[in-house]
Symmetry: C2
Subunit: 245 residues, 2 copies
Amino acid sequence: MKRSIHQNISVDCVIFGFDSSELKVLLVERELHDEKTGELIFKDRTLTGNHIYLHEELESAARRILDDLTGIDDIYLEQFFTFGSPSRISKEKDKQWIRSQGRNPDEHIVTVGYFSLLDINRVEIKHKDRNVAWYPVGEVGELGFDHNEILDKALSTLRDKLMKEPLAYELLPDKFTLTQMQTLYQAIMGVEYDKGNFRKKVAKMKYLIPLDEKIVGNAHRPPRLYFFSRDVYEFTRKQLFDFSV
Amino acid sequence: MKRSIHQNISVDCVIFGFDSSELKVLLVERELHDEKTGELIFKDRTLTGNHIYLHEELESAARRILDDLTGIDDIYLEQFFTFGSPSRISKEKDKQWIRSQGRNPDEHIVTVGYFSLLDINRVEIKHKDRNVAWYPVGEVGELGFDHNEILDKALSTLRDKLMKEPLAYELLPDKFTLTQMQTLYQAIMGVEYDKGNFRKKVAKMKYLIPLDEKIVGNAHRPPRLYFFSRDVYEFTRKQLFDFSV
Protein backbone atom coordinates (compact mmCIF):
# COMPACT_ATOMS: atom_id res chain seq x y z
CA MET A 1 0.00 0.00 0.00
CA LYS A 2 1.33 3.38 -0.95
CA ARG A 3 1.16 5.75 2.00
CA SER A 4 0.17 9.37 1.46
CA ILE A 5 2.47 12.13 2.60
CA HIS A 6 1.15 14.74 5.02
CA GLN A 7 1.54 17.95 2.99
CA ASN A 8 1.87 20.27 5.99
CA ILE A 9 3.92 18.50 8.64
CA SER A 10 7.54 17.46 8.68
CA VAL A 11 10.01 16.39 11.34
CA ASP A 12 13.67 17.37 11.57
CA CYS A 13 16.28 15.60 13.67
CA VAL A 14 19.29 17.40 15.09
CA ILE A 15 21.63 14.51 15.89
CA PHE A 16 24.61 15.76 17.88
CA GLY A 17 27.66 13.57 18.26
CA PHE A 18 30.77 13.90 20.41
CA ASP A 19 33.94 12.23 19.08
CA SER A 20 36.14 12.77 22.20
CA SER A 21 37.23 16.19 20.98
CA GLU A 22 34.53 18.01 19.01
CA LEU A 23 30.76 18.43 18.96
CA LYS A 24 29.39 17.45 15.57
CA VAL A 25 26.01 17.30 13.89
CA LEU A 26 24.69 14.80 11.38
CA LEU A 27 23.83 16.35 8.01
CA VAL A 28 22.54 14.95 4.75
CA GLU A 29 23.60 16.10 1.29
CA ARG A 30 20.94 17.60 -0.92
CA GLU A 31 21.57 17.66 -4.68
CA LEU A 32 19.19 19.04 -7.25
CA HIS A 33 19.71 18.04 -10.87
CA ASP A 34 17.97 19.35 -13.96
CA GLU A 35 15.27 16.87 -14.88
CA LYS A 36 16.17 16.83 -18.57
CA THR A 37 19.90 17.41 -18.79
CA GLY A 38 20.85 15.85 -15.46
CA GLU A 39 23.00 18.92 -14.84
CA LEU A 40 23.66 19.83 -11.20
CA ILE A 41 21.62 22.89 -10.21
CA PHE A 42 22.82 23.06 -6.62
CA LYS A 43 24.29 20.96 -3.86
CA ASP A 44 24.09 21.75 -0.18
CA ARG A 45 23.24 20.17 3.17
CA THR A 46 20.26 19.92 5.50
CA LEU A 47 19.45 18.32 8.81
CA THR A 48 18.09 14.79 8.66
CA GLY A 49 14.35 15.23 8.23
CA ASN A 50 11.46 14.83 5.88
CA HIS A 51 7.69 14.86 5.62
CA ILE A 52 5.64 12.54 7.77
CA TYR A 53 2.98 10.21 6.43
CA LEU A 54 -0.67 10.93 7.01
CA HIS A 55 -1.75 9.32 10.27
CA GLU A 56 1.80 8.62 11.40
CA GLU A 57 2.98 9.42 14.95
CA LEU A 58 5.48 12.31 15.01
CA GLU A 59 8.19 10.40 16.86
CA SER A 60 7.74 7.32 14.66
CA ALA A 61 8.27 9.55 11.64
CA ALA A 62 11.47 10.96 13.14
CA ARG A 63 12.78 7.45 13.83
CA ARG A 64 11.80 6.16 10.40
CA ILE A 65 13.55 9.03 8.61
CA LEU A 66 16.70 8.64 10.68
CA ASP A 67 16.71 4.88 10.11
CA ASP A 68 16.15 5.26 6.34
CA LEU A 69 19.02 7.71 6.02
CA THR A 70 21.55 6.25 8.39
CA GLY A 71 20.57 2.80 9.66
CA ILE A 72 20.62 4.26 13.19
CA ASP A 73 17.38 3.00 14.66
CA ASP A 74 17.75 2.87 18.39
CA ILE A 75 18.80 6.23 19.83
CA TYR A 76 17.20 8.52 22.36
CA LEU A 77 15.26 11.31 20.62
CA GLU A 78 13.71 14.25 22.42
CA GLN A 79 11.21 16.68 20.95
CA PHE A 80 12.50 20.20 21.60
CA PHE A 81 10.63 22.78 19.51
CA THR A 82 8.21 23.20 16.64
CA PHE A 83 8.93 25.69 13.88
CA GLY A 84 5.99 27.09 11.99
CA SER A 85 6.93 30.48 10.65
CA PRO A 86 5.28 31.17 7.28
CA SER A 87 8.67 32.44 6.09
CA ARG A 88 10.38 29.08 6.70
CA ILE A 89 10.47 28.29 2.98
CA SER A 90 11.44 31.51 1.25
CA LYS A 91 14.74 30.83 -0.49
CA GLU A 92 14.34 30.09 -4.19
CA LYS A 93 16.43 26.91 -4.09
CA ASP A 94 14.30 25.49 -1.26
CA LYS A 95 11.19 26.13 -3.35
CA GLN A 96 12.83 24.45 -6.36
CA TRP A 97 13.70 21.46 -4.22
CA ILE A 98 10.16 21.12 -2.91
CA ARG A 99 8.73 21.38 -6.41
CA SER A 100 11.15 18.66 -7.57
CA GLN A 101 9.59 16.39 -4.91
CA GLY A 102 6.16 16.98 -6.47
CA ARG A 103 5.02 19.21 -3.63
CA ASN A 104 3.84 22.80 -3.35
CA PRO A 105 6.35 25.24 -1.79
CA ASP A 106 3.54 27.67 -0.93
CA GLU A 107 2.01 25.24 1.56
CA HIS A 108 2.41 26.38 5.16
CA ILE A 109 4.62 23.57 6.44
CA VAL A 110 5.27 23.18 10.16
CA THR A 111 8.24 21.11 11.29
CA VAL A 112 8.66 19.38 14.64
CA GLY A 113 12.27 19.31 15.89
CA TYR A 114 13.84 16.34 17.70
CA PHE A 115 17.35 16.19 19.03
CA SER A 116 19.76 13.61 20.33
CA LEU A 117 23.31 13.48 21.65
CA LEU A 118 25.45 10.41 21.13
CA ASP A 119 28.98 9.12 21.28
CA ILE A 120 30.25 9.03 17.70
CA ASN A 121 32.71 6.26 18.59
CA ARG A 122 29.88 3.98 19.63
CA VAL A 123 27.58 4.47 16.64
CA GLU A 124 27.94 3.24 13.10
CA ILE A 125 26.22 4.98 10.20
CA LYS A 126 25.06 2.43 7.65
CA HIS A 127 24.42 4.94 4.83
CA LYS A 128 21.28 3.26 3.63
CA ASP A 129 20.15 6.00 1.35
CA ARG A 130 21.70 9.41 0.76
CA ASN A 131 25.08 10.84 1.69
CA VAL A 132 25.08 11.48 5.43
CA ALA A 133 28.07 12.67 7.46
CA TRP A 134 29.19 14.36 10.68
CA TYR A 135 30.17 18.05 10.59
CA PRO A 136 31.59 20.19 13.42
CA VAL A 137 28.72 22.38 14.65
CA GLY A 138 30.73 25.54 13.94
CA GLU A 139 31.42 24.54 10.33
CA VAL A 140 28.06 23.66 8.84
CA GLY A 141 27.81 26.67 6.49
CA GLU A 142 24.46 27.73 5.09
CA LEU A 143 21.98 24.88 5.42
CA GLY A 144 18.78 24.40 3.43
CA PHE A 145 15.41 25.78 4.59
CA ASP A 146 15.50 27.28 8.12
CA HIS A 147 17.84 24.55 9.33
CA ASN A 148 20.49 26.92 10.69
CA GLU A 149 17.83 28.36 12.98
CA ILE A 150 16.68 24.87 14.00
CA LEU A 151 20.29 23.85 14.71
CA ASP A 152 20.86 27.01 16.81
CA LYS A 153 17.74 26.36 18.87
CA ALA A 154 18.75 22.71 19.42
CA LEU A 155 22.23 23.82 20.47
CA SER A 156 20.90 26.32 23.01
CA THR A 157 18.55 23.62 24.37
CA LEU A 158 21.49 21.23 24.69
CA ARG A 159 23.65 23.84 26.46
CA ASP A 160 20.85 24.66 28.85
CA LYS A 161 20.44 20.95 29.68
CA LEU A 162 24.18 20.54 30.23
CA MET A 163 24.01 23.24 32.94
CA LYS A 164 20.90 21.84 34.62
CA GLU A 165 21.17 18.08 34.28
CA PRO A 166 23.97 15.52 34.63
CA LEU A 167 24.15 15.06 30.88
CA ALA A 168 27.92 15.23 30.46
CA TYR A 169 28.56 11.99 32.31
CA GLU A 170 26.59 9.99 29.77
CA LEU A 171 29.24 10.86 27.20
CA LEU A 172 32.28 10.37 29.41
CA PRO A 173 33.73 6.96 30.29
CA ASP A 174 32.89 5.66 33.80
CA LYS A 175 36.30 6.85 34.96
CA PHE A 176 37.56 10.00 33.30
CA THR A 177 40.30 12.59 33.58
CA LEU A 178 39.58 16.28 34.15
CA THR A 179 41.07 16.98 30.74
CA GLN A 180 38.47 14.71 29.12
CA MET A 181 35.76 16.44 31.08
CA GLN A 182 36.96 19.95 30.25
CA THR A 183 37.21 19.01 26.56
CA LEU A 184 33.60 17.80 26.57
CA TYR A 185 32.30 20.96 28.27
CA GLN A 186 34.27 23.19 25.91
CA ALA A 187 33.03 21.30 22.86
CA ILE A 188 29.37 21.61 23.83
CA MET A 189 29.49 25.14 25.26
CA GLY A 190 31.65 26.42 22.43
CA VAL A 191 34.02 28.27 24.77
CA GLU A 192 37.48 27.76 26.29
CA TYR A 193 37.82 27.43 30.05
CA ASP A 194 40.90 28.31 32.03
CA LYS A 195 42.40 25.02 33.27
CA GLY A 196 43.09 26.30 36.80
CA ASN A 197 39.61 27.78 37.27
CA PHE A 198 37.98 24.66 35.88
CA ARG A 199 39.84 22.49 38.39
CA LYS A 200 39.00 24.84 41.25
CA LYS A 201 35.34 24.44 40.36
CA VAL A 202 35.61 20.66 40.18
CA ALA A 203 37.18 20.59 43.65
CA LYS A 204 33.98 22.15 45.07
CA MET A 205 31.69 19.64 43.43
CA LYS A 206 31.45 16.81 45.92
CA TYR A 207 29.77 14.56 43.35
CA LEU A 208 32.99 14.43 41.31
CA ILE A 209 35.04 11.88 43.23
CA PRO A 210 38.81 11.60 42.69
CA LEU A 211 39.99 7.97 42.52
CA ASP A 212 43.29 6.51 43.65
CA GLU A 213 43.73 5.04 40.19
CA LYS A 214 45.63 6.89 37.52
CA ILE A 215 45.95 6.35 33.81
CA VAL A 216 48.82 3.93 33.27
CA GLY A 217 51.41 4.96 30.72
CA ASN A 218 54.71 6.63 30.32
CA ALA A 219 53.65 10.05 31.45
CA HIS A 220 55.84 11.66 34.07
CA ARG A 221 52.70 12.68 36.04
CA PRO A 222 49.91 10.31 35.02
CA PRO A 223 46.51 12.08 35.24
CA ARG A 224 44.15 11.23 38.05
CA LEU A 225 40.84 9.54 37.25
CA TYR A 226 37.46 10.80 38.50
CA PHE A 227 34.11 9.19 39.02
CA PHE A 228 30.66 10.85 38.86
CA SER A 229 28.41 9.99 41.80
CA ARG A 230 24.81 10.37 40.69
CA ASP A 231 23.65 9.86 44.30
CA VAL A 232 25.70 12.76 45.62
CA TYR A 233 24.63 14.91 42.67
CA GLU A 234 20.94 14.26 43.33
CA PHE A 235 21.37 14.78 47.06
CA THR A 236 23.15 18.11 46.54
CA ARG A 237 20.57 19.32 44.04
CA LYS A 238 17.61 18.28 46.16
CA GLN A 239 19.04 19.67 49.34
CA LEU A 240 19.49 23.08 47.83
CA PHE A 241 16.73 23.49 45.28
CA ASP A 242 14.01 20.94 45.82
CA PHE A 243 11.35 21.11 48.51
CA SER A 244 9.95 17.65 47.93
CA VAL A 245 10.87 15.54 50.91
CA MET B 1 -10.22 39.93 3.65
CA LYS B 2 -11.35 36.56 4.87
CA ARG B 3 -8.40 34.52 6.09
CA SER B 4 -8.23 30.80 5.36
CA ILE B 5 -7.89 28.36 8.20
CA HIS B 6 -4.95 25.94 8.21
CA GLN B 7 -6.72 22.57 8.15
CA ASN B 8 -3.94 20.62 9.84
CA ILE B 9 -2.44 22.80 12.54
CA SER B 10 -3.88 24.10 15.76
CA VAL B 11 -2.47 25.64 18.92
CA ASP B 12 -3.61 24.96 22.48
CA CYS B 13 -2.82 27.14 25.48
CA VAL B 14 -2.56 25.74 28.99
CA ILE B 15 -2.95 28.87 31.13
CA PHE B 16 -2.19 28.04 34.75
CA GLY B 17 -3.17 30.47 37.46
CA PHE B 18 -2.40 30.61 41.18
CA ASP B 19 -4.96 32.36 43.40
CA SER B 20 -2.91 32.30 46.66
CA SER B 21 -4.21 28.86 47.58
CA GLU B 22 -4.84 26.65 44.55
CA LEU B 23 -3.40 25.95 41.12
CA LYS B 24 -6.05 26.46 38.45
CA VAL B 25 -6.29 26.19 34.70
CA LEU B 26 -8.25 28.30 32.25
CA LEU B 27 -10.91 26.32 30.36
CA VAL B 28 -13.49 27.26 27.78
CA GLU B 29 -16.99 25.84 27.56
CA ARG B 30 -17.90 23.91 24.44
CA GLU B 31 -21.59 23.48 23.60
CA LEU B 32 -22.91 21.64 20.59
CA HIS B 33 -26.52 22.27 19.59
CA ASP B 34 -28.60 20.47 16.98
CA GLU B 35 -28.59 22.65 13.84
CA LYS B 36 -32.33 22.34 13.27
CA THR B 37 -33.93 22.01 16.69
CA GLY B 38 -31.37 24.00 18.65
CA GLU B 39 -31.40 21.19 21.22
CA LEU B 40 -28.24 20.75 23.29
CA ILE B 41 -26.30 17.67 22.12
CA PHE B 42 -23.46 17.98 24.60
CA LYS B 43 -21.65 20.50 26.76
CA ASP B 44 -18.12 20.09 28.08
CA ARG B 45 -14.85 21.96 28.38
CA THR B 46 -11.57 22.26 26.51
CA LEU B 47 -8.31 24.14 26.85
CA THR B 48 -8.18 27.53 25.17
CA GLY B 49 -7.11 26.78 21.63
CA ASN B 50 -8.16 26.71 18.01
CA HIS B 51 -6.93 26.37 14.45
CA ILE B 52 -4.33 28.74 13.13
CA TYR B 53 -4.71 30.71 9.92
CA LEU B 54 -2.72 29.80 6.87
CA HIS B 55 0.59 31.68 6.93
CA GLU B 56 0.20 32.76 10.55
CA GLU B 57 3.07 32.44 13.06
CA LEU B 58 2.37 29.76 15.70
CA GLU B 59 2.89 32.05 18.68
CA SER B 60 0.81 34.84 17.09
CA ALA B 61 -2.02 32.34 16.69
CA ALA B 62 -1.78 31.33 20.35
CA ARG B 63 -1.91 34.98 21.45
CA ARG B 64 -4.77 35.81 19.09
CA ILE B 65 -6.90 32.91 20.33
CA LEU B 66 -6.25 33.75 23.97
CA ASP B 67 -7.03 37.41 23.35
CA ASP B 68 -10.25 36.59 21.45
CA LEU B 69 -11.48 34.33 24.23
CA THR B 70 -10.40 36.22 27.30
CA GLY B 71 -9.11 39.69 26.51
CA ILE B 72 -5.79 38.65 28.05
CA ASP B 73 -3.27 39.83 25.50
CA ASP B 74 0.00 40.37 27.24
CA ILE B 75 1.14 37.27 29.13
CA TYR B 76 4.27 35.17 28.85
CA LEU B 77 3.65 32.07 26.72
CA GLU B 78 6.11 29.24 26.31
CA GLN B 79 5.91 26.50 23.72
CA PHE B 80 6.27 23.17 25.53
CA PHE B 81 5.25 20.25 23.30
CA THR B 82 3.60 19.33 20.02
CA PHE B 83 0.96 16.63 19.92
CA GLY B 84 0.50 14.81 16.64
CA SER B 85 -0.86 11.37 17.37
CA PRO B 86 -3.28 10.20 14.66
CA SER B 87 -5.61 9.05 17.45
CA ARG B 88 -5.96 12.58 18.90
CA ILE B 89 -9.45 12.95 17.47
CA SER B 90 -11.17 9.65 18.06
CA LYS B 91 -14.11 10.37 20.37
CA GLU B 92 -17.41 10.67 18.52
CA LYS B 93 -18.35 13.99 20.11
CA ASP B 94 -15.04 15.55 19.07
CA LYS B 95 -15.71 14.45 15.50
CA GLN B 96 -19.23 15.91 15.68
CA TRP B 97 -17.82 19.18 16.95
CA ILE B 98 -15.26 19.40 14.17
CA ARG B 99 -17.92 18.65 11.54
CA SER B 100 -20.11 21.39 13.04
CA GLN B 101 -17.22 23.82 12.37
CA GLY B 102 -17.27 22.82 8.70
CA ARG B 103 -14.07 20.84 8.98
CA ASN B 104 -13.10 17.23 8.38
CA PRO B 105 -12.44 15.16 11.54
CA ASP B 106 -10.39 12.63 9.55
CA GLU B 107 -7.70 15.20 8.83
CA HIS B 108 -4.46 14.49 10.68
CA ILE B 109 -4.35 17.59 12.89
CA VAL B 110 -1.21 18.44 14.86
CA THR B 111 -1.47 20.83 17.79
CA VAL B 112 1.31 22.94 19.26
CA GLY B 113 1.04 23.40 23.04
CA TYR B 114 1.88 26.66 24.84
CA PHE B 115 1.73 27.22 28.56
CA SER B 116 1.79 30.09 31.00
CA LEU B 117 1.61 30.62 34.74
CA LEU B 118 0.09 33.77 36.19
CA ASP B 119 -1.25 35.32 39.34
CA ILE B 120 -5.05 35.11 39.15
CA ASN B 121 -5.37 38.12 41.45
CA ARG B 122 -3.47 40.30 39.01
CA VAL B 123 -5.30 39.32 35.81
CA GLU B 124 -8.78 40.17 34.65
CA ILE B 125 -10.62 38.01 32.16
CA LYS B 126 -12.71 40.17 29.86
CA HIS B 127 -14.89 37.32 28.45
CA LYS B 128 -14.87 38.65 24.96
CA ASP B 129 -16.35 35.62 23.32
CA ARG B 130 -17.24 32.28 24.88
CA ASN B 131 -17.59 31.20 28.50
CA VAL B 132 -14.10 30.98 29.98
CA ALA B 133 -13.32 30.22 33.63
CA TRP B 134 -10.68 28.99 36.07
CA TYR B 135 -10.88 25.39 37.34
CA PRO B 136 -8.67 23.68 39.97
CA VAL B 137 -6.28 21.42 38.03
CA GLY B 138 -7.49 18.37 39.95
CA GLU B 139 -11.13 19.01 39.10
CA VAL B 140 -11.25 19.47 35.35
CA GLY B 141 -13.12 16.25 34.56
CA GLU B 142 -13.00 14.78 31.06
CA LEU B 143 -11.93 17.46 28.60
CA GLY B 144 -12.55 17.49 24.85
CA PHE B 145 -10.09 15.99 22.34
CA ASP B 146 -6.77 14.89 23.95
CA HIS B 147 -6.77 17.91 26.25
CA ASN B 148 -6.39 15.88 29.46
CA GLU B 149 -3.14 14.53 28.02
CA ILE B 150 -2.00 18.02 26.99
CA LEU B 151 -2.82 19.37 30.46
CA ASP B 152 -0.88 16.50 32.12
CA LYS B 153 2.15 17.15 29.97
CA ALA B 154 2.01 20.90 30.72
CA LEU B 155 1.71 20.16 34.42
CA SER B 156 4.73 17.87 34.43
CA THR B 157 6.70 20.51 32.50
CA LEU B 158 5.68 23.14 35.07
CA ARG B 159 6.65 20.89 38.02
CA ASP B 160 9.99 20.13 36.44
CA LYS B 161 10.66 23.86 35.97
CA LEU B 162 9.67 24.60 39.58
CA MET B 163 12.42 22.21 40.74
CA LYS B 164 15.07 23.53 38.36
CA GLU B 165 14.38 27.25 38.08
CA PRO B 166 13.45 30.04 40.51
CA LEU B 167 9.89 30.10 39.19
CA ALA B 168 8.05 30.15 42.53
CA TYR B 169 9.28 33.60 43.47
CA GLU B 170 7.56 35.19 40.49
CA LEU B 171 4.21 34.25 42.03
CA LEU B 172 5.05 35.17 45.61
CA PRO B 173 5.05 38.75 46.92
CA ASP B 174 8.51 40.34 47.35
CA LYS B 175 8.33 39.53 51.05
CA PHE B 176 6.54 36.31 51.90
CA THR B 177 5.92 33.97 54.80
CA LEU B 178 6.98 30.33 54.75
CA THR B 179 3.31 29.37 54.91
CA GLN B 180 2.67 31.26 51.67
CA MET B 181 5.66 29.57 50.11
CA GLN B 182 4.67 26.08 51.26
CA THR B 183 1.12 26.65 49.98
CA LEU B 184 2.44 27.58 46.54
CA TYR B 185 4.73 24.54 46.34
CA GLN B 186 1.96 22.23 47.49
CA ALA B 187 -0.50 23.69 44.97
CA ILE B 188 1.84 23.22 42.03
CA MET B 189 3.36 19.88 43.06
CA GLY B 190 0.00 18.46 44.11
CA VAL B 191 1.37 17.05 47.37
CA GLU B 192 1.39 17.96 51.07
CA TYR B 193 4.68 18.72 52.78
CA ASP B 194 5.36 18.25 56.46
CA LYS B 195 5.71 21.75 57.94
CA GLY B 196 8.76 20.90 60.05
CA ASN B 197 10.63 19.25 57.19
CA PHE B 198 9.77 22.08 54.83
CA ARG B 199 11.22 24.62 57.27
CA LYS B 200 14.34 22.52 57.83
CA LYS B 201 14.91 22.59 54.06
CA VAL B 202 14.37 26.33 53.85
CA ALA B 203 16.95 26.87 56.61
CA LYS B 204 19.61 25.23 54.37
CA MET B 205 18.80 27.42 51.40
CA LYS B 206 20.99 30.46 51.80
CA TYR B 207 19.12 32.31 49.07
CA LEU B 208 15.99 32.46 51.24
CA ILE B 209 16.76 35.32 53.57
CA PRO B 210 14.79 35.81 56.81
CA LEU B 211 13.93 39.46 57.46
CA ASP B 212 13.57 41.24 60.76
CA GLU B 213 10.11 42.36 59.68
CA LYS B 214 7.06 40.38 60.62
CA ILE B 215 3.48 40.54 59.43
CA VAL B 216 1.71 43.07 61.62
CA GLY B 217 -1.57 41.97 63.14
CA ASN B 218 -3.13 40.47 66.17
CA ALA B 219 -1.42 37.11 65.97
CA HIS B 220 0.24 35.96 69.16
CA ARG B 221 3.31 34.98 67.16
CA PRO B 222 3.32 37.01 63.93
CA PRO B 223 4.97 35.06 61.10
CA ARG B 224 8.42 36.05 59.90
CA LEU B 225 8.86 37.42 56.38
CA TYR B 226 11.40 36.07 53.89
CA PHE B 227 13.08 37.49 50.84
CA PHE B 228 14.38 35.59 47.77
CA SER B 229 17.90 36.58 46.74
CA ARG B 230 18.31 35.85 43.04
CA ASP B 231 22.03 36.65 43.30
CA VAL B 232 22.67 34.06 46.01
CA TYR B 233 20.50 31.54 44.12
CA GLU B 234 22.51 32.00 40.91
CA PHE B 235 25.81 31.91 42.78
CA THR B 236 24.88 28.68 44.57
CA ARG B 237 23.68 27.04 41.38
CA LYS B 238 26.70 28.09 39.37
CA GLN B 239 29.18 27.16 42.05
CA LEU B 240 27.85 23.62 42.23
CA PHE B 241 26.62 22.76 38.76
CA ASP B 242 27.98 25.16 36.21
CA PHE B 243 31.51 25.07 34.83
CA SER B 244 31.30 28.33 32.94
CA VAL B 245 33.53 30.80 34.68
